[in-house]
Subunit: 463 residues, 2 copies
């Protein structure tokens, strides 16, 4: 079969105008009068559908008029311009071949369905306008990220999904096991004998590829990861999923400044790429999902991101504490309300907040000279708050050990990580971008369940 895609018809219409073409797709709607009818056809390759006009001169006219929404058909006919109509052209069908019928109980009828309802049919919702747009854009964002880093000669590293380490606290992790749960092997003292498990020890799903990523940055200089990560947090919010994808670049011979430059370029690159490659989808989101979307994204692309230290930010916020549910003072973590106030009201553009108190940041962040703050950075953007979190990494062996001891971490578990500080340590930095949060930001979708093809959340692991 040589079916022309609807995308191709739109992109190179001159080539096909007034010629015979053959397209395949799914029926979005159908209506008829006595002697002819219209089909709105979508083939998944392009956001805009194609109008098909059919006549009772076709042998199977009576079958065609009875088609249900969702049916798959192949249409042969002539592409003609329709200067008077909403759509630029249509197909005058010579033949319509029914590839696959659709029954009358098809769950997607030509009416507005709620996102909640559509979540219950995750296998069919990509056939709707909204989810066609969301998941094509998701795909484009993923590719834009790869393209951005590969053009800069970053090496893509697949850090492991199953991990024997438990760097951010086992409470939030999913256990991975092949032990027979009904008959767990036991040690003499009654505890479970994990030496009989698949890997000969306790294993979990990764929460971050960063520490592994750092080992590759110390070999390739610039690397990035892009893979699934997991949190077994019992939080049922619109922003949390148990399974989500993360991008974690890591750069050697680089400091916090370099890190911020990289993050800013990446965000601008992604937005620009998507606007260029999915203008129809972006227009749709701006019209029907989030009216300020395009203005906000254009604002990001065209601004120079602001910079403020945590200490300065707290000064600003404290003066406005009357505006917040949660009052700030030096030492506290910033909540979304504070983050959004900073980026939306104070800076009116994306802003990096840097140099947070060491107590509220991870052990691996580089200690500043004040010995109170660390070289961390969070990137805040209008409309959402934090979108990226990163830091320069502690590259000094002794300082890292002493910080780990302070926090009661078991130094022996981090031998490989400490080796990096023993053998050719370099200034280095990196950050994490939650992929789903990025998709939400670019589409205006407000529930993480609506930007993941098959979302996994507490109590929900369907399909």
């Amino acid at each position: 079969m040589e079916l022309i895609s609807i995308r191709e018809l739109y992109k190179n219409r001159e080539k096909y105008m007034d010629k015979k073409v053959e397209v395949g797709g799914w029926l979005r709607s159908i209506r008829d009068s006595k002697t002819f009818g219209f089909i709105v056809l979508n083939d998944g390759t392009y956001f805009e559908p194609l109008q098909v006009v059919y006549h009772d001169t076709m042998d199977n006219f009576s079958e065609i008029v009875k088609l249900n929404v969702g049916a798959a058909i192949i249409v042969k006919g002539t592409l003609v311009e329709t200067p008077q109509a909403k759509q630029p052209f249509e197909i005058q069908a010579d033949e319509i071949f029914i590839e696959g019928q659709s029954t009358g109980d098809y769950p997607l009828q030509k009416k507005r369905h709620s996102f909640e309802y559509l979540r219950s049919i995750a296998h069919l919702r990509p056939r709707t306008n909204t989810f066609q747009a969301v998941f094509r854009v998701r795909s484009l964002i993923a590719y834009a990220i790869h393209k951005f880093f590969q053009e800069r000669d970053f090496v893509y590293v697949h850090t492991p999904i199953i991990t024997g380490s438990d760097c951010e606290g086992a409470g939030e992790m999913f256990r991975v096991t092949t032990l027979d749960m009904a008959q767990l092997p036991k040690n003499p003292d009654g505890t479970i004998d994990y030496s009989e498990d698949f890997f000969g020890k306790e294993t979990n799903l990764t929460v971050s590829g960063q520490l592994n990523g750092e080992t590759y940055a110390q070999a390739f200089r610039n690397i990035y990861t892009f893979g699934p990560t997991f949190r077994a947090e019992n939080s049922n919010t619109t922003r949390h999923a148990a399974e989500f994808w993360m991008i974690e670049p890591e750069i050697a011979f680089a400091d916090l400044q370099d890190n911020m430059i990289l993050a800013e370029s990446m965000i601008k690159y992604i937005i620009t790429y998507v606007m260029e490659h999915a203008p129809e989808e972006m227009k749709f989101f701006n019209q029907f999902v989030d009216k300020g979307l395009m203005e906000r994204l254009n604002g990001v692309v065209n601004s120079e991101f602001g910079h403020v230290t945590y200490t300065e930010a707290i000064d600003i916020l404290e003066k406005n504490n009357n505006k917040f549910d949660y009052k700030v003072s030096w030492g506290c973590d910033l909540q979304t309300e504070h983050e959004r106030y900073l980026t939306e009201e104070v800076f009116k553009k994306p802003v990096f907040v840097t140099d947070y108190p060491k107590e509220i940041k991870a052990f691996y962040m580089k200690m500043n000279e004040d010995n109170k703050t660390v070289a961390a950075m969070d990137c805040l953007v209008p409309g959402i708050g934090e979108i990226i979190g990163g830091s320069q990494r502690e590259d000094d062996y002794d300082k890292l050990i002493s910080r780990m001891n302070e926090l009661g971490l078991n130094v022996e578990d981090y031998g490989f990580y400490l080796d990096l500080r023993k053998y050719g340590s370099t200034r280095h930095a990196g950050f994490g971008l939650g992929f789903e949060r990025c998709v939400m930001y670019l589409t205006g979708m407000s529930n993480i369940r609506d930007v993941v093809p098959f979302p996994r959340t507490v109590g929900n692991c369907e399909l």
Copy 2:
């Protein structure tokens, strides 16, 4: 810091020749005489290293000569041509700044280390020539795959990692749980109460994204997945890992023929891309890892892949049964020895074997009219055997149900999958490419543990 990468020096050498440059990197070797010395520097951006010449005119000359292998340094100096030498240019250093020392116990000395030894230091092995080459090529292959599909407007779909279904038999799957193993909640009948588990039911790590991928192909026409998959097989071979990445394209309005065309183009595209973007690495593999590599890969790119049905293949193989450990007859699965014989001896190029007996293939493959074989395809390549497996999918609702019943599958578990055959079913097809096997094929590396950054195999989950 504005460090120039060694890649940039090699790619645009004219721009920098006889000019001051600043580079950072890790010391691969160092030697000195009384008044000057040489450092071989690698910065991870390029396979070839950079020679640095230093003199006792530098203040810290005595420190430099004492540097150990693995140390990180920053060099300022002049790039000069070296027409008499092996390398095309070197840096005459004015200053060398020591970024990070390396201790004398650095596990990578300037000598040949065995792959076995290097596996025990997975965090450091990417600093060696072989693994620099392997993991840069791995990154390039991943990108080539994305590029291939995105250029053809395929939508990249993230199918779920944690899954509630168990399509290929629970015995080979990893369980995912947050239950307290020491105190498992029980039902009244003594079985484990999975309703208290994180997702409210039993969950596992995915073995394939195909069924989920099909749902998106029926919405977008052409999609691909690229993500990690898992097998809890207790097989300790050079070709099996418990965690590996798979690429699974799925195309609608397409049959087995279209599927083979897609697979052939993809393989040729990947090889061509890597040869163009990593010529130094490929030369290295050809010289030191697998002497026939380039010839074999060039053969693949320049051949039209062969086609043979399983039944024809068995005819050919039966006549040569004396050559095989495992004798073939119609109905048996092909072993690697048979696959390699077909592609290396009979066809002398890649070949698709199609239309296998239904008994040795999966339930979802399209039944042929003979009702004995299914529209399956395996792509065999010289040097390895099967690299791709795929099929046209059964798109007929009744035939699919009846095949599932024949095999004793629980139809209720596949409601979403059957829906695709109820609502606008189309001819469709797809295949799976094991990413690691692909990396092995392109690099000539013979152990899967050496193409995965941090391999997971039975009893092994380090770092």
